[in-house]
């Protein structure tokens, strides 16, 4: 069926705003027009069918994505929007690249971004993670310079500069010291505290079992991820990125066989079309594209399988799947009237339980990462309240005695795009599916690295290599080669 979206509607930015599209659309309600109007309608339709005029399909196709797009970004969360923003910002000349963001759920009801606790820290052990986080926090500080849209109000991401406090037991103290050394080298402002200094600063902490604590003094804290998401969305729409409310169901690709220098046969795949199925309908639109960016978060593994990543004998590069899966994590909100005050940082206990202050009313948000054996079933987002009673409350009550009396107000669950290999992100192209780029697998710290990862992927796409932060350790091939980029502390 010959179906093209409004051809004029695909013009550069101009009709991304829907000016002309809306204008022509209003002429569709034919029953209210008079005789002259009806005749002009028929005239227009005949003109559009005859060659030489613009093709206007006789029915509304504005919900369909365009038939051609240079870059298709699968996933409209903070990572996908960040990649779209930086692609549009770094492209030369302006308007050179057509970007389409495909998001299955415009309410973001299950998106990790919206359900995130919103923390940002530089206390990592891998230097690239620290650099990503440092750039992202500078982006957030200058967010109104980066994401300013004419005539729209400035963004307020409600950043709390309260810092992160990581506690370590005897076993972890040496690791913490070496981590802090790396962090300071990269430029993060972190100080080490002994248990006595900790008691002086935060008298409500019980320092039994704590050998060392590292406290981020600047540029760490938490913020409102929904505001960042909406700010990115608004800016990206004003820059001319197209959005589509649909789901990617198929990739149509072609293969070519070549030989490596050592004589082995290698099959390289290239994706030509992305089939985008419209929500609540059987209709789909094949979008011809040059590049696909997999930023689908917790569902990236499924998208990679659709593209043929991992279809091959296990142990080979063709057979290496993308090891990103959905993992469910719980967050609980409780009220404790005698709890710690305004100065409470984001505290991460040595046992893995964490909490932070929320607002001014003695409310706190917190949770804990379950061990491998206790992983909950990620099929739904139901909350298990027994998990709080058994696994979250005891270590927190031991650490902060005031938490022995508390009342849970509410709880929710969200997904981690958990990288089962080494819990760090996957960034860069796939070695065999040459035009699929990954930006996923951040296992709980994607939000705090999103602006920097977006810039890195845009540099990779536009220049072919990383220019500012070198993320080559995060390449896909490490899954095949077995080189883990292990982070020593994740929440």
């Amino acid at each position: 069926m010959l179906r093209r979206a409004l051809q004029l509607g695909l013009g550069r930015g101009l009709l991304g705003r829907g000016l002309l599209g809306r204008g022509l659309g209003t002429h569709r309600g034919g029953s209210t027009l008079d005789q002259n109007g009806k005749v002009s309608e028929i005239k227009k339709k005949i003109q559009s069918v005859l060659p030489g005029g613009a093709w206007n399909p006789p029915y509304d196709t504005s919900y369909l994505p365009p038939e051609h797009s240079d870059v298709v970004i699968v996933g409209g969360g903070v990572i996908g929007l960040s990649v779209a923003y930086w692609l549009k910002r770094l492209e030369k000349p302006r308007g050179a690249i057509r970007v389409l963001v495909v998001e299955r759920d415009h309410t973001y009801s299950q998106a990790s971004t919206a359900l995130s606790v919103g923390g940002i820290r530089q206390q990592f052990s891998v230097p690239e993670n620290i650099q990503l986080s440092l750039f992202s926090v500078e982006f957030l500080r200058n967010i109104n310079e980066y994401l300013a849209v004419v005539d729209d109000p400035p963004l307020d991401i409600q950043f709390n500069p309260s810092g992160y406090l990581l506690l370590a037991s005897e076993k972890g103290a040496a690791v913490m010291e070496s981590n802090v050394k790396v962090q300071r080298q990269e430029g993060a402002k972190v100080c080490l505290m002994s248990p006595e200094q900790l008691r002086n600063k935060f008298p409500w902490i019980n320092t039994e079992g704590v050998a060392l604590a590292s406290y981020g003094m600047e540029y760490e804290g938490w913020f409102d991820p929904w505001c960042l998401l909406q700010g990115l969305r608004r800016k990206v729409q004003s820059m001319g990125v197209l959005f589509c409310h649909g789901e990617v169901t198929r990739f149509v690709s072609s293969s070519s066989h070549t030989e490596t220098t050592s004589g082995e046969e290698v099959t390289l795949k290239r994706i030509h079309e992305v089939h985008v199925k419209i929500d609540r309908s059987l209709e789909y639109q094949p979008v011809e594209c040059a590049l696909v960016i997999n930023a689908a978060g917790a569902w990236s593994g499924q998208i990679a399988e659709l593209a043929g990543v991992g279809k091959g004998p296990p142990g080979t590069l063709q057979g290496t799947k993308l090891p990103v899966e959905r993992r469910k994590r719980y967050v609980y909100l409780w009220h404790c009237p005698q709890g710690p005050g305004l100065e409470t940082p984001f505290i991460v206990d040595a046992s893995g339980a964490y909490f932070r202050r929320e607002g001014l009313g003695n409310n706190y948000l917190g949770g804990c990462s379950p061990t491998e054996e206790e992983e909950p079933d990620p099929g739904n987002l139901e909350v298990d309240h027994d998990f709080f009673q058994d696994k979250v409350w005891p270590p927190l009550a031991q650490r902060v005695p005031a938490f022995e009396t508390l009342k849970v107000r509410s709880a929710w669950a969200g997904y981690y795009d958990y990288n089962t290999f080494d819990q760090n992100g996957v960034v860069g192209p796939h070695p065999l599916v040459v035009n699929m780029y990954f930006a996923t697998g951040f296992s709980g710290h994607g939000l705090q690295q999103a602006p920097a990862v977006g810039r890195a992927v845009a540099e990779m796409v536009l220049d072919g290599h990383f220019q500012t932060i070198n993320l080559s350790p995060f390449h896909f091939s490490r899954f095949y080669l077995g080189e883990k980029v292990q982070e020593h502390n994740i929440i």
């Binding site: 002309l20 005749v39 002009s40 005239k43 500080r141």
Partner: protein, 257 residues
């Protein structure tokens, strides 16, 4: 009978539409007389939407650059005369006032001129800074944070001082005793939470902060956070419902108190 003539009239405008795009469409609508002049100016601007947008973005960028220029670091003065002189020069250039230890307040006059005598003070530390109303921002704080013996800092009504800047004040914790943030439009309770590093603070003024959501409660929490500091600012009863009127209304209701 309009019908037979209608096709002739319609062919011309449609042809025009095809060749002239948006402009043809809008001119096909008949414009009534009186507002023609105003309409044509608006039309002119609307036709050049992206040019107008680019102009507005340029003007906005210029304003932002102006603030950046005001907050540039004076590295030459810092290397030649020391961090205290550089900090004092920075504040005086912005239109504030500086007090060196044992000397009088130095202020710039209405035209922004000030005497450069303070450059002769060798290693005399700056004791107090009055940066009220200055366009100091996150970058500009670099110059202030080098003043290791600063005791009193007044940042009243500074339009660009926000929560991020407050998170940066911790290097002054050893010496800072007085801090005034009255009237800063961008400071909220989240930035005030990072003031707990300033252990030697004795006077803190947090009155008139429009971005703080609950001034009375914030003041109580800040007082608890800094026990040895006197906090001036919002009245703690602000925002609470007034007492006696509520009680008389309760007596009137049928529900027993």
């Amino acid at each position: 009978m309009a019908a037979p003539r209608a096709p002739l009239h319609l062919v011309m405008p449609v042809w025009n539409r095809g060749t002239r795009g948006i402009r043809g469409l809008s001119r096909a609508v008949a414009l009534e007389g009186s507002q023609k002049k105003g309409r044509s100016l608006l039309q002119f601007l609307a036709d050049r939407f992206y040019d107008v947008q680019a102009l507005r973005e340029y003007l906005l960028q210029k304003q932002v650059l102006k603030v950046h220029q005001k907050n540039r670091p004076f590295t030459y003065i810092k290397e030649r005369f020391g961090p205290h002189a550089a900090g004092a020069y920075f504040i005086l250039k912005q239109g504030g006032a500086v007090k060196f230890q044992g000397k009088e307040w130095i202020r710039s006059d209405a035209h922004g001129h000030f005497s450069l005598d303070f450059l002769k003070f060798q290693a005399v530390p700056v004791e107090a800074v009055d940066a009220s109303g200055c366009a100091i921002n996150y970058q500009g704080l670099d110059s202030l944070l080098a003043l290791k013996e600063l005791q009193s800092l007044w940042l009243q009504r500074c339009p660009h001082v926000d929560d991020w800047c407050l998170g940066r004040l911790h290097p002054l914790a050893n010496s800072l005793q007085e801090l005034s943030l009255a009237g800063c439009p961008r400071i909220s309770e989240r930035g005030l939470a990072s003031l707990h590093h300033l252990r030697n603070l004795r006077r803190l003024d947090i009155s008139d902060l429009p971005a703080v959501s609950n001034p009375g409660l914030t003041r109580i929490l800040v007082e608890e956070m800094l026990p040895s500091c006197q906090v001036l600012g919002a009245d703690w009863a602000q925002g609470l419902p007034s007492g006696p009127e509520e009680q008389s209304q309760d007596r009137a209701s049928p529900i027993p108190a």
